[in-house]
């Protein structure tokens, strides 16, 4: 398989790429890059991948004690630790994919400066690596939920998958956009840190959407729901927490419609990210 045209009889432009499509044309390389990162993550550690399960478990205990018991949320929201952990899992996926995607081009500067590759490879692989790292967390949440009697229908599972797709698209798009800008202006990196910090509060992870709806005017609540993160978090709540039949648990009004909007918004970010990336790509090798 050739990098570009497999046809040796035509003259082609070196480094001419068709963007994201090229990344999937070279999915063997993509799979190796993802596998490499996953392999080296816990290299030299005794417990290895067990850490990926320990971390969310510890988080569960901390949330249960600090926010559930001390702040009294356990009394207000039934199965609150599961509620929290479910939302936190999807937000962690977004944060890791987005911030690593933003830094991915700089981290791979040595390669970008020397060998031609479709550069979209790096933000895309960051997203996939984050997805793989999120899997153990999802497993932990689901096992805990099962202990409390989680019995999902296909619709609940579908909601979880849709949330993952929304975040994957959104984080890739944003990763392309800010990653490309970050090559020339490292400010992007700091800006992204702020977005990531706000992400967990801009969506109903630590609180319930009703608390927002009761405090803000209607138009602001519409805006709140237009945020794909809110939708993804609520889809996770719908898939993990809602099947436990929590007392007073309500699905976000218009969740289905807003899910559609979230897909469209995420795709738009992906498109914008790709366009900006292609525009700036020509300067990568000399700016890094």
């Amino acid at each position: 398989m050739s990098r570009r045209s497999p046809e040796p009889s035509v003259l082609t432009q070196p480094g001419g790429s068709v963007g994201l499509l090229d990344v999937f044309r070279r999915r063997y390389l993509l799979s190796l890059i993802v596998r490499k990162e996953i392999q080296i993550r816990y290299r030299g550690s005794v417990l290895g991948w067990l850490w990926s399960y320990v971390k969310p478990l510890v988080q569960f205990v901390v949330f249960f004690l600090a926010i559930g018991v001390f702040l009294g949320m356990n009394g207000r929201v039934e199965f609150f630790p599961i509620y929290l952990l479910a939302g936190n899992t999807i937000i962690t996926f977004f944060n890791e994919a987005f911030s690593n995607g933003t830094r991915s081009l700089i981290d791979n500067a040595a390669l970008i400066k020397k060998i031609y590759l479709p550069r979209e490879m790096f933000p895309v692989s960051s997203m996939l690596i984050a997805a793989v790292n999120t899997l153990p967390q999802i497993v932990v949440v689901l096992i805990i939920a099962m202990i409390f009697g989680w019995a999902p229908t296909l619709l609940h599972i579908g909601a979880l998958l849709l949330a993952l797709v929304i975040i994957a698209l959104l984080a890739t798009g944003l990763g392309l956009l800010f990653g490309a800008i970050n090559v020339t202006f490292r400010d992007a990196q700091s800006f992204v840190e702020i977005i990531v910090m706000c992400a967990v509060w801009a969506s109903p992870v630590m609180y319930q959407w009703e608390m927002v709806a009761n405090q803000v005017p209607h138009w602001l609540f519409v805006l709140y729901r237009l945020n794909p993160l809110t939708v993804a978090v609520e889809l996770f709540h719908y898939g993990v927490w809602y099947p436990l039949d929590p007392q007073g648990g309500q699905v976000l009004p218009g969740l289905l419609a807003y899910s559609g909007v979230a897909v469209v918004v995420s795709l738009t970010f992906l498109l914008v990210g790709q366009l900006v990336f292609r525009r700036l790509e020509g300067r990568f090798a000399q700016d890094l």
Binding site: L11, P14, G16, K114
Partner: protein, 240 residues
């Protein structure tokens, strides 16, 4: 002459040298009326064409634009104006080992680096034994690369690069690799590739070696083609 493998047509490449790297610096420079950027013409209208199977040396002193030219042919950089066209697969032995990861074993690095250079899994598997044999590090192939000596590391990296399936091979400073016997082996391998009809574009400061290896020399001077013809003559001109 057969059809060209590489066509370079009126290529210009400027680098903007930015003198400021933050808003504060930019602001201060603007206040003091210092220039924010300086243009540096790395290539200033270069044209040539390389036929299939030819071995061409790019000659010139430091800063003459040789490496920039190689990067344009490999696609890492794109020209500001003019055009570069290539036929078939192009791979560069430009700074071998760029895609190596110290925490992976030699074996894993071979697969990763071969994939970066554009090879498929099958192609790599077919050549795997050759790559290992050429690098002479059979015993350490499952050891992490960070435990390699620098010589072993370079031998493995070079071995992967030189076994990639290509039509056009770009070579930058080959003879910085390994000890004398290994260098001779590399050179022999490169000659072999040339005999098999591969196109070679070579950049090196070892003028004798390069004029022996390549029949044709293109002498670059300050971003222009100063001479294009017999490589021995090009070297003479350069030494004047």
């Amino acid at each position: 002459m057969t059809e060209p493998s590489v066509v370079v047509d009126e290529v210009h490449k400027d680098f903007k040298l930015r003198h400021t790297h933050s808003i504060k610096e930019t602001f201060l420079a603007a206040v003091r009326r210092k220039p924010l950027t300086t243009d540096f013409h790395a290539l200033d209208g270069v044209s040539f064409s390389i036929a299939q199977g030819e071995a061409v040396a790019l000659l010139g002193f430091n800063g003459s634009g040789k490496s920039t030219m190689l990067k344009l042919i490999s696609g890492v950089l794109s020209p500001d104006s003019g055009a570069v066209r290539t036929r078939g697969r192009v791979a560069g032995l430009i700074e071998v080992g760029a895609g190596f990861h110290p925490d992976l074993s030699g074996r894993e690095n071979i697969f990763l680096n071969a994939a970066i250079l554009g090879m498929t899994k099958r192609e790599t598997e077919e050549r795997f034994d050759d790559i290992v044999a050429f690098s002479e590090i059979e015993k350490f192939i499952d050891t992490e690369v960070k435990h390699y000596s620098s010589g072993m590391f370079l031998r493995l990296a070079f071995s992967v690069a030189i076994h990639t399936e290509v039509d056009v091979l770009l070579i930058d400073e080959i003879l910085s690799v390994g000890d004398e016997p290994f260098q001779q082996k590399c050179l022999a391998r490169i000659r072999q590739l040339h005999d098999a009809g591969k196109t070679l574009v070579v950049v090196s400061h070892d003028l004798d070696m390069v004029s022996n290896l390549c029949g044709r020399g293109i002498l670059l001077r300050e971003g222009n083609v100063a001479f294009d013809g017999d490589s021995k003559r090009a070297v003479e001109l350069m030494r004047q």
